[in-house]
């Protein structure tokens, strides 16, 4: 009986049998519910991916450890990477985009609600298939279960000879299917933003979150599709005896690398651009100032999107390209730093002279700013081909991209959770638990990923199963592992906060942060139809105009 009560409460509806509530959620086409489903789906996978990371860190805690077997270790790093990128980062960002974009542009739903539901369930099916490989991956061969080819699955490791059984096929199909889901959602986001804006919401008046998600979705169309194409080729190789990546028949393993990284690098920007969007919404509200340099922010984002499509081979300096290619990819990679730097200065410019309010969302945004800067600096280091030859494939690289993904993307995501949780659920997150979460996570993050640069410089290769004592890596690895546990505890605090505040948090009201974008004009949680009457806007900050009719922004437009 208690589970019935839980289900009803989770749905925020009362007096309905839980089967009906479940049915409503499974068949929903409401963008807010699908957004929540995306986010919950991602949170579940965040826990799974986190456990996989912890298993790896326990294994590497001390030399000659045998906490897991080498085979299991290979599966863990493959599943950790694949899960975190495709089934945590992508869905959680799509979830926020789904929930927020229609509300922010004054629309009642996405352009294609059923396509939206279809895309979500494709992603969910992809995630299910990836993890079903633990059960079904060995097929009839009894050889290996989960995928163990690394998240970028270089040829010829993925050929039938080296990957018998079905584990690689589950990986391929999971990514192909969730990729189609991502393409569907991206088309939907673009169509929504271009075609569903409320009267007066010109492109120049859209919240930056909408702008950046528009750019992100455009990038998904160009970035995920090469991966889908490469996965189709891999399936032709594995099932039909094709030779795309079969070096024995004249095929090229390098071609897979190019195809993978043509996806892989823009993907980083697909993930970070929505995080820029969160920061661009949160920093102004907690600085009590409008965003500094709105047009430049939009321009810089579009610029990043373009340049990031031509940097992919900086992941491949060590395969031995010619010096022209090395120079080209070094220069383009360094060039991405320019528009990114513009953004950082714009956020600082927004904070400069503002009346800063250090609530949890703002703390996470400030953490994001510092850490993303450092991540960018190690990125510039790695973009120089000679430096890269020295450190490619080492823990320095692992530290660098975790600095981007955890220090940048995850911090911005946590900020987004604290900022929009009141809108999504109608309750505030607990501020003390939030601050505890922030400081614990900050300490854990820096213990893990600052220190991780050093064994990389000392020569510790990534994906290594274990190592000899006496190389100076022992203490460092122990500190890294302790940091991982602190991050784990911090995440548990966050999870506890999400659950506790859902039931006991203070009521949020429509607009707890005194913000300026349209989602705060409706009740929390918003009604199913979003807006009783479609709003009309005349400036970038429609709620400011409403709250200050004597001095509206529209006067200065």
């Amino acid at each position: 009986m208690s589970s019935d009560v839980m289900a009803i409460k989770t749905a925020g509806a009362s007096g309905k049998p839980w089967v009906e509530t479940l049915h409503e959620w499974v068949t929903t086409v409401d963008h807010k519910r699908l957004g929540i489903l995306y986010i919950l789906f991602a949170l579940i996978f965040l826990v799974i991916g986190g456990i996989e990371a912890t298993i790896m860190r326990i294994q590497l805690m001390r030399p000659h450890n045998d906490f897991v077997s080498p085979q299991v270790f290979n599966r863990m790093f493959t599943m950790h990477g694949t899960t975190m990128i495709f089934f945590v980062a992508m869905p959680v960002l799509f979830g926020f985009a789904n929930f927020l974009v229609p509300l922010m542009i004054g629309a009642r739903d996405m352009a294609f609600p059923r396509l939206n539901a279809f895309s979500f369930w494709l992603t969910a099916l992809g995630g299910f298939l990836l993890y079903f490989s633990f059960v079904g991956g060995s097929g009839l061969y009894g050889a290996g279960n989960a995928p163990d080819v690394g998240w970028w699955a270089y040829a010829p490791l993925t050929s039938r000879a080296f990957s018998p059984g079905h584990s690689t096929d589950y990986w391929t199909i999971a990514l192909l299917i969730s990729g189609f889901g991502s393409i569907g959602t991206s088309i939907n986001i673009i169509a929504t933003i271009l075609c569903m804006r409320c009267p007066g919401m010109t492109l120049g008046r859209m919240p930056l979150l909408a702008w950046l998600n528009l750019v992100m979705s455009g990038m998904v169309l160009l970035a995920i599709t090469p991966l889908s194409a490469a996965q189709l080729m891999l399936m032709v190789d594995r099932y039909l005896g094709g030779h795309f990546f079969d070096t024995q028949a004249g095929g090229s393993a390098t071609l897979w690398m190019h195809f993978f990284w043509i996806f892989g690098h823009p993907e980083v920007y697909v993930l970070i651009i929505p995080c820029f969007a969160f920061v661009s919404e949160i920093v102004p509200v907690f600085s009590r100032k409008p965003i500094f340099g709105y047009p430049v922010m939009v321009g810089a984002t579009v610029c990043i999107a373009f340049v990031s499509l031509s940097v992919w081979a900086h992941h491949m300096f060590t395969i031995g390209m010619n010096s022209y290619a090395n120079a080209f990819f070094t220069i383009t990679t360094m060039a991405v730093g320019v528009p990114t730097g513009i953004k950082i200065f714009n956020w600082l410019g927004t904070m400069w002279g503002g009346k800063l309010i250090f609530k949890t969302p703002m703390l996470f945004c400030i953490g994001f700013l510092f850490q993303f800067l450092i991540a960018g600096l190690t990125g510039i280091m790695l973009s120089a081909a000679p430096f890269n030859w020295q450190l490619s494939g080492s823990y320095f690289v692992v530290a660098h991209f975790h600095y981007v993904i955890v220090g940048g993307i995850l911090f911005a995501l946590f900020a987004a959770f604290y900022y929009w949780y009141p809108k999504i659920t109608g309750r505030m997150l607990n501020e003390s638990l939030g601050k505890l979460h922030f400081w614990l996570f900050l300490i854990g993050f820096h213990m893990t990923f600052d220190v991780m640069h050093i064994p990389g410089i000392l020569g510790m290769p990534r994906r290594i199963y274990t190592y000899e004592p006496g190389r100076g890596w022992n203490t460092l690895n122990l500190i890294i592992t302790i940091g991982t546990f602190i991050q784990g505890i911090a995440t548990s605090v966050f999870a506890a906060n999400l659950i506790f505040s859902y039931f006991k948090g203070p009521r949020a009201g429509n607009d707890p942060w005194d913000a300026w974008t349209l989602e705060w004009s409706v009740s929390s949680p918003p009604p199913e139809y979003n807006f009783a009457s479609i709003p009309t806007v005349a400036s970038r900050r429609p709620l400011w105009d409403r709250k200050h009719p004597e001095d509206p922004d529209s006067r200065y437009d």
């Binding site: 271009l194 007066g200 599709t225 094709g242 795309f244 028949a249 004249g250 479609i534």
Partner: protein
């Protein structure tokens, strides 16, 4: 999008946004172009790299007639949607049917060519790199033609039942965008496979 005036801001007089179907189709075409680009790059990369025969020069025959069929179907579908816009349903249906026939002829041509390659020259997808890239690229295109034909064929009985009128012309336009894209891709595939890749 009917706007209800808010008490503070008057809605702009002329508020028009692009059609969502057309935008979505444009996005889909954008995404599909990227997929085809990767397959085309793979094809070009592997031209002349097969370790064994048969080679394109030995076995490929340029399908001029069937190419003309497919390309002219772009014209017929364009005229069909123009006629529908003006409410001439008979002409629309006739041209729509002709489009399906021309697309079907093209698929028949592909089937003939594949049959010839397999049974006369022993070229399959696993024979050599040429086979792998040729069947993948041409097959990917043929798959898109088939998907297009299916969608066109769904409209035909609806049209015969009198359900497709002027008010559906935007939707028919969206479908014709897709068909034009499939044709445009064939121009690229044709150039790559039958001209550059010989």
């Amino acid at each position: 999008m009917s706007a209800i005036a808010s008490p503070i801001v008057q809605p702009p007089v002329d508020w028009r946004l692009p059609n969502r179907g057309k935008v979505a189709m444009a996005c889909l075409i954008f995404a599909e172009s990227a997929i085809f680009t990767i397959f085309v790059v793979a094809y070009l990369f592997y031209v002349g790299k097969s370790l064994s025969g048969p080679t394109p020069r030995e076995v490929l025959e340029t399908p001029i007639f069937f190419t003309i069929c497919l390309l002219s179907s772009s014209l017929t579908i364009h005229l069909a949607s123009r006629f529908l816009e003006r409410g001439k349903r008979g002409a629309f249906l006739g041209l729509w049917f002709l489009t399906i026939v021309l697309g079907g002829l093209f698929m028949y041509g592909t089937a003939l060519e594949w049959h010839r390659l397999m049974y006369e020259h022993g070229l399959t997808i696993s024979t050599n790199l040429f086979g792998t890239t040729y069947y993948s690229l041409v097959g990917l295109h043929a798959f898109h033609v088939t998907a297009g034909l299916l969608m066109l064929s769904i409209v035909l009985p609806l049209g015969l039942a009198g359900r497709v009128g002027r008010e559906q012309s935007v939707r028919v336009d969206v479908l014709s965008f897709y068909w034009h894209f499939v044709d445009a891709v064939w121009v690229v595939v044709f150039t790559v496979v039958y001209v550059l890749g010989r």
